[in-house]
């Protein structure tokens, strides 16, 4: 019987020969990830439920990244990090990446990939809705709440409903004025924010397999914006090369069967797509950059797990090189590794960081920063009636701070072009 790759991975993790969409199964979890917002309450529930002698099912499989509320004076936010620190030292957690030390990594989903926790064929749960990002590695990954995470922490197991799959095929090559962000905004425009509820979004096609791992993660990251359980791209040589550089853990490559059943299939001619935006206040409020060009902006933002990877900054730098921004523009590398690459990678001999600084951008430290608004002193936070263009993944009311602000989501190319003009701009004007 034929299965999709999501079904194959979940069948293996539930010790079954095959699984059917809609069926509830108990899964063995390979990695549990948590962070400073949801880690402390998860630990609290785990202690409450398993008592003073609570045991972590497998310490090596628990990974903790403080990343959300890091560079703030907010005392309660700092207390959360302090709670993680105490927990990590009390239980001797090997995979804790403390802020203020050289182990600090930045945004969890990107750090999971960089540190070799994203392994094809495995099952990863995290206390963050964008845990679906890891699916770029041909694995099953999804977000859960604190109670489910506490359950996993104590047992290594969790129930899940086998999702139906939706398939998105991008035929043809990606033109230089498009990035993965344009593709996923197009998908969201088609299926809307609940079109993928309880489903797996599977991406394939020439344009997808031509993408770097950075760019593939942009696609799977925003699967949750369609309400999906997970996003997934079958692993190939690009995936294998990335994984092998970072870990020697074994991996397994699963492919969807040719006659596997999908709830729906979408096929796009990639060359016909245009630079995309999601207008306020929803990621599915699709339009082309051209249609909304001229919209006045007060701020531009390049960052987050969606739009703060090296590939995003290379795209932004291509356009910002030799230009000046006309609205405050924030460059927030997702991880400390990306931050380091901004200094090492260059275009025509000028480092990416220098290109941004020359253009008048503010380069911030790695963390989630204003992607989710955060405490009042968060860098880049939207205030009052601001109109922001951002490479992040959500523009729900108030997501980046003020609920009166308006946020347009776009690719790093579009954000960079718009930052220069101070109004939304089609990046083709600069390429």
């Amino acid at each position: 019987m034929s299965m999709t790759l999501t079904e194959k991975i979940l069948a293996k993790a539930s010790h079954k020969n095959r699984v059917e969409p809609g069926e509830n199964v108990w899964l063995d979890v390979d990695v549990l990830m948590t962070h400073d917002v949801c880690g402390p309450p998860t630990i609290g529930i785990w202690k409450r439920e398993f008592g003073n002698n609570a045991k972590i099912w497998d310490k090596n499989k628990l990974v903790i990244f403080p990343d959300h509320y890091i560079f703030t004076k907010n005392p309660q936010a700092n207390r959360n990090v302090e709670l993680l620190r105490e927990f990590a030292s009390e239980y001797n957690i090997p995979n804790y990446y403390d802020v203020g030390t050289d182990r600090y990594k930045g945004v969890c989903h990107i750090a999971l990939a960089e540190e070799g926790y994203d392994i094809p064929g495995t099952v990863l749960f995290g206390t963050d809705s964008h845990t679906c990002t890891s699916g770029a590695f041909g694995m099953f990954s999804t977000g859960v709440g604190n109670t489910d995470a506490a359950f996993i922490m104590g047992t290594g197991k969790i129930w899940e409903k086998i999702p139906q799959s939706l398939k998105f095929t991008f035929e043809g090559k990606l033109p230089p004025y498009l990035t993965a962000k344009d593709l996923i905004l197009k998908v969201l425009g088609e299926i809307t924010t609940d079109g993928g509820t309880y489903c797996a979004l599977e991406f394939d096609g020439e344009a997808v397999y031509d993408l770097s791992m950075d760019e593939r993660m942009t696609l799977t990251n925003m699967a949750i914006e369609g309400g999906a359980m997970n996003g997934i791209i079958a692993a190939d040589e690009v995936t294998e090369a990335y994984v092998k550089q970072r870990t020697n853990k074994p991996y397994e490559i699963y492919l969807s069967d040719k006659d596997a059943k999908y709830k729906a299939k979408y096929v796009f001619d990639t060359r016909k797509l245009e630079p995309s935006v999601a207008k306020p206040h929803s990621p599915d409020n699709y339009d082309t950059a051209k249609n909304v060009s001229g919209t006045k902006l007060t701020k531009a933002y390049v960052g987050s797990c969606t739009g703060g990877k090296l590939s995003d900054f290379v795209s932004a730098a291509k356009i910002l090189m030799g230009n000046k921004v006309s609205v405050p523009t924030f460059i927030v590398p997702a991880s400390t590794f990306v931050a380091q690459q901004l200094e090492e990678e260059s275009i025509s001999g000028i480092s990416l960081k220098q290109i941004f600084e020359n253009a008048g951008c503010t380069v911030a430290q790695s963390s989630c920063a204003a992607c989710l608004g955060g405490p009042m002193d968060t860098i880049g936070r939207a205030v009052d009636n601001e109109v922001v263009i951002s490479t992040t993944n959500r523009n729900f009311p108030g997501r980046m701070g003020s609920k009166k602000s308006s946020v347009y989501l776009a690719s790093p190319l579009t954000v960079a072009a718009s930052a220069i003009n101070g109004v939304i701009t089609d990046p083709r004007d600069f390429l």
């Binding site: 509830n24 917002v37 949801c38 402390p40 309450p41 609290g44 439920e49 509320y69 907010n74 309660q76 936010a77 207390r79 959360n80 206390t127 963050d128 809705s129 845990t131 977000g143 859960v144 709440g145 604190n146 109670t147 489910d148 359950f151 104590g154 047992t155 197991k157 129930w159 924010t193 609940d194 509820t197 309880y198 309400g227 359980m229 929803s282 989710l372 608004g373 955060g374 405490p375 009042m376 959500r394 729900f396 009311p397 108030g398 997501r399 609920k403």
Partner: protein, 186 residues
């Protein structure tokens, strides 16, 4: 589990995401300290834009003044309730504010799971749109055994979708109690 839930309706539209239920800046309070956790109740639904807060007219405060509990304890939602961030603080905040049940056209997966596995509130689905039939402030009665919602103010009755295969977890109380009852956990 309560078999009959009585209370006043608070009506919201589609796509109420978890940032609207509890804005990210408030995720820092303790969830265990009995005083501090009341803040979650106080800020529940504080991210909902005023025109959409308490339909059909909007501009209804879910929480009055300095309170942490709401006069409304049954939420009527549209499609895709609880989308967005995975924060379990969202159903938690609603529970602190006194919400017993939500009746929506559909839910985002993580919010739905959190509500059930954490035992915070009942997430009922309605086969038809109720947000234009029930008004904020209507007196409601929810009968869990028969999946029936009565609007005492308008006199209308609505059948809800049965809770289905999550019912055992709801009846047990939460996922831990369920796992203990079924022998998975000691």
């Amino acid at each position: 589990m309560e078999k009959t839930i009585k209370g006043k309706a608070f009506v919201l539209g589609n796509n109420v995401d978890t940032d609207q239920i509890i804005p990210a800046e408030h995720l820092v309070y303790s969830l265990t300290d009995s005083e501090e956790k009341k803040k979650y109740g106080h800020f529940a639904f504080s991210g909902v834009p005023s025109p959409q807060s308490g339909l059909p007219n909007g501009n209804v405060a879910f929480i009055n003044g300095e309170n942490y509990a709401s006069e409304f304890n049954i939420i009527i939602g549209g499609a895709n309730f609880g989308c967005g961030s995975s924060r379990e603080h969202a159903p938690f905040a609603l529970e602190i504010a006194g919400v017993k049940a939500i009746i929506a056209e559909s839910y985002a997966r993580i919010f739905f799971r959190n509500s059930v596995d954490g035992g915070f509130l009942l997430p009922y689905e309605t086969p038809s749109k109720l947000s234009d039939k029930i008004k904020t402030g209507d007196e409601l009665e929810l009968h869990v055994d028969t999946n029936l919602l009565k609007d005492l103010t308008s006199g209308e009755n609505f059948s809800l979708r049965p809770l289905g295969d999550i019912l055992p977890i709801i009846e047990a109380g939460d996922i831990f109690k369920y796992a203990r009852q079924s022998g998975m956990l000691e």
